[in-house]
């Protein structure tokens, strides 16, 4: 399976957009070589602002840029972007709907070596709770590239989670990205037994699970929920129709996560057998590789597979 790096895709897309859109400015907190906005710095040094290791100031400064008509991107690790600068996002960015784009890089457990202080198991969940915020969680590098022009055209604050590692590419470059739209990754068939709402890295794990289920004669449709907010009721229900069970899969803690969001929509529509794949109430930890860590936290294809089976059993 072809893999590609999401950070690199972000950096390249930023440069591409910067060529035609002179309003784009980039602010960084000493991590541009990791987030890959260093590519933008190289191309457009006048529009790159190294803010030092001061994420709170970076975030409010970006709000100032936006209020004066610019389209600022801020970059740092997701855990700092969402956590360290929470109140700055809330007051300076979200309340005035400032046109700030916040990059939460190395999201989830993807910075596997650095451990719990650098991994972010709750960033998307926190930002989802803030009114006015759009929260995106691309599954692969192609989706990152497709998202960028849409995010730039959208007038308002956006938080984007970017995985640190090379991930398998499932997104077709042909289908247009749209905020709030859920994208089918496998075709629906009349025989589909279950629906898997997956986001980020978990889409690839869900795909592997679906393959295995298929070999057993169970059809599970996988959809990519790359917009964590707004999560549109009609989009969610569209894919649940006719299924015997629904499963969610996310690289985040359960509390306030995608699973709970989908469950609340499904429950209101009439109950459907349901299972969640998510991180239990726990921080991350250091590991030597990503899959080792995903295994520890129950986020592998095996876990999605089991969740689908469990949900289908309940649905009987």
């Amino acid at each position: 399976m072809e893999t590609a790096n999401l950070r690199k895709a972000y950096g390249e897309a930023l440069v591409e957009a910067g060529k035609t859109n002179k309003d784009i400015v980039v602010l960084e907190a000493d991590l541009s070589k990791s987030t890959m906005s260093a590519l933008f710095k190289e191309a457009f040094p006048d529009r790159f602002f190294e803010m030092g290791i001061a994420e709170q100031n970076m975030t409010s400064t970006a709000a100032g840029f936006a209020l004066a008509g610019k389209i600022p991107f801020t970059g740092t690790f997701a855990v700092f972007a969402a956590g360290r600068a929470y109140d700055q996002i809330r007051c300076a960015v979200a309340i005035p709907r400032a046109n700030v784009k916040i990059i939460g890089s190395s999201c989830g457990l993807s910075d596997y070596g650095d451990g719990k202080t650098h991994q972010s198991v709750e960033d998307g969940n926190i930002i989802r709770a803030i009114p006015n915020m759009v929260v995106l969680n691309p599954l692969d590098a192609v989706e990152v590239k497709k998202m960028m022009p849409v995010v730039i055209n959208y007038k308002g604050p956006v938080y984007i989670r970017i995985n640190r590692n090379d991930l398998p590419v499932y997104t077709s470059p042909n289908e247009k990205f749209q905020i709030g739209k859920i994208f089918p990754v496998t075709k629906d068939t009349e025989k589909s037994d279950a629906i898997i709402y997956a986001t980020g890295i978990m889409v690839s794990k869900a795909m592997e699970a679906a393959e295995r289920l298929k070999s057993e004669g169970i059809i599970a449709q996988v959809v990519n929920v790359s917009t964590l907010k707004p999560l549109l009721k009609e989009e969610v229900l569209k894919y649940a129709a006719g299924k015997k069970a629904a499963v969610t899969a996310e690289e985040a803690v359960r509390t306030g996560g995608l699973g709970q969001a989908i469950a609340s929509i499904l429950m209101a529509n009439g109950p459907l057998a349901f299972e969640e794949v998510a991180i239990n109430d726990d921080f991350g930890t250091s590991a030597r590789n990503y899959d080792e860590l995903l295994t520890r936290y129950g986020l592998m294809s095996e876990d999605v597979y089991k969740a689908v089976k469990k949900a289908l059993n309940k649905g009987k």
Partner: protein, 278 residues
């Protein structure tokens, strides 16, 4: 040299702004009287002498911007914006009311307000972002940021001060309303921040002390700040919290206090006397 008549007009304007504060607070409702009235002269100078703003075109690109980092003093900015015609006078009495225009703290929904503030320590960062954006656009506009002295304990503000110096932001002038009282008492007792001027100098700023209740001195400081290139300037306004209302001067109880029938009457009398004395 600024003419005596201009200074007298600015003093009169500051008194009018204090009248407006009274109108907004009224009787029996808590309101940030102290930290609003300490800024009356600075607001009068900025809105009625210095800043290029247009109530008929609040979003004009080359306007000067004022970010009130000490957002709890919103009343004094509302007063100035109202006097400048940004919104009708009838809104003053509806401040903090459900569905009123004037929120408890500055909000972008209010014409003339440039940033959401109230969570202290963020205004300077926002101002630096605006100043850098205006510089990219080669705009002649200036950015003014007003901070509190109690607010100086917020760490983010010092991050912003370093950023401003790093980027040599000279199209921004900051103010510290050095009124020496914070919400729960005298700043030196609550959380002492000694040698403010030395700190700002050490952080790479041009520091200008000024009498915060003398419009002539404020103008002098603001104009001297404009001439300094290659570094940001901060004007430390020596002020009295609750200035203009004898019972509130230097009194932490009026940081966010309510007026009684008696104190309201006294306040009006004192402002009338000040007006007559000009």
């Amino acid at each position: 040299m600024i003419s005596e008549s201009v200074i007298r007009e600015l003093k009169a304007e500051a008194i009018q702004l204090r009248f407006d504060i009274l109108e907004m607070i009224g009787i029996g409702n808590p309101g940030h009287l102290g930290g609003s009235s300490s800024l009356a002269e600075a607001m009068a100078v900025l809105y009625f002498y210095k800043m290029n703003v247009d109530n008929n075109y609040p979003q004009k690109p080359d306007r000067d911007r004022l970010v009130l980092s000490k957002g709890h003093a919103a009343l004094i900015q509302y007063a100035a914006l109202c006097e400048k015609g940004f919104f009708p006078r009838s809104e003053l009495k509806r401040v903090k009311a459900l569905d009123g225009l004037l929120q408890g703290h500055p909000d972008l929904t209010i014409p003339g307000i440039e940033a959401v503030t109230g969570s202290l320590g963020q205004g300077l960062s926002i101002g630096v972002g605006m100043a850098l954006a205006l510089r990219l656009d080669k705009s002649p506009a200036r950015v003014y940021v007003i901070m509190g002295d109690g607010e100086q304990s917020e760490g983010q503000l010092w991050e912003a001060s370093q950023a401003a110096a790093n980027f040599k932001v000279d199209n921004l002038t900051a103010f510290i309303d050095w009124n020496k009282i914070q919400a729960t008492g005298p700043t030196r007792d609550i959380f002492s921040i000694p040698a403010l001027d030395e700190k700002w100098k050490a952080f790479g700023w041009n520091v200008i002390p000024a009498d915060g209740h003398d419009p002539a001195k404020i103008i002098e400081a603001v104009e001297s700040a404009e001439k300094v290139k290659g570094k940001p300037s901060v004007i430390i306004l020596d002020t009295v919290k609750g200035k203009g209302f004898s019972f509130a001067e230097g009194n932490a109880a009026y940081h966010n206090g309510a007026l009684t029938d008696e104190t309201y009457k006294k306040a009006v009398e004192e402002l009338n006397a000040a007006k007559a004395g000009l």
